[in-house]
Symmetry: C2
Subunit: 161 residues, 2 copies
């Protein structure tokens, strides 16, 4: 049982690291550096992974989480992602937080918190609302400092330009 817990913990770290790597890719493409992956629990397969594509496509709502959910639903040919978890490098905004609820994801892991624009532990606290009909389990803080630093560097580089 302890071995299983250790394996689970190691997997969480690997999956969050993947999300961070996607965020770094976004940075290189001049996108706000946020990355997300969706993992099927029974197989531990990563079935979708995206970074933000707001600038690239001129579509401001193409957040990493929304793109990842769309892709996962296509892969599984299922409009419910029961048995799947999301790992994302930043606290989802209210749009993405509710999309995660609609998608019926089991668990949400996010790295850094977002006091200004987050929708899970900040702002409208989507999962505590009466309009939320599925609440994922939420785990916060893995790789948080790495994700925060990436975002800080990005916005500092923007201010210099």
């Amino acid at each position: 049982m302890l071995n299983q817990q250790k394996k689970d913990q190691e997997e969480h770290i690997v999956f969050m690291q993947l999300a961070i790597e996607l965020a770094k890719n976004a940075f290189e493409k001049d996108e706000v550096p946020v990355g997300a992956v969706i993992v099927e629990r029974k197989t531990s397969n990563v079935i979708a992974g995206f970074s933000n594509q707001m600038r690239q496509n001129s579509i401001a709502i193409e957040h990493a989480e929304v793109l990842t959910i769309q892709q996962a639903m296509k892969v599984l040919k299922n409009e419910r992602l029961v048995g799947c978890d999301m790992y994302v490098s930043l606290e989802p905004c209210p749009m993405c937080a509710h999309a995660i609820s609609i998608a019926r994801l089991d668990r949400l892991f996010y790295a850094a918190s977002d006091p200004k624009s987050g929708g899970v532990e900040h702002g409208p606290r989507i999962y505590e609302s009466s309009s939320c009909h599925h609440k994922p389990e939420v785990f916060v803080g893995m790789h948080a400092s790495e994700s925060s630093e990436l975002l800080r560097n990005f916005f500092q580089s923007k201010r210099k330009n």
Copy 2:
């Protein structure tokens, strides 16, 4: 001035009627009957219009509002829909309400209210949250009974099956 107001009022009715027609199309395709259009104010052109496509594509987050915003951004090649309004047949859910904010739409007109799942005047009241950085003007109730009846008929037909 009064003539202009009358013209504006007539246009609002026409645009909302379009959203309702799209909702009727959705009903025929066994989708939850919601329709949305986005209108560019200076030209009065309808630049995008969609109904829900959640069942058709097995993607539960393909709500009419999200699809319409994506299309409008593609048409205008702009990730901000400043100077545009949305007309939608039902109160947007929290995901869509926040997407409307991100898109910087000027005005939101919706027909029926949605006490169970709405995110504007119900649930998390997205536009009153600290995580909301743009609040559209909101107008409620035009064609409300027609939209409500459509939704009621849809869910009654589901319960019979």
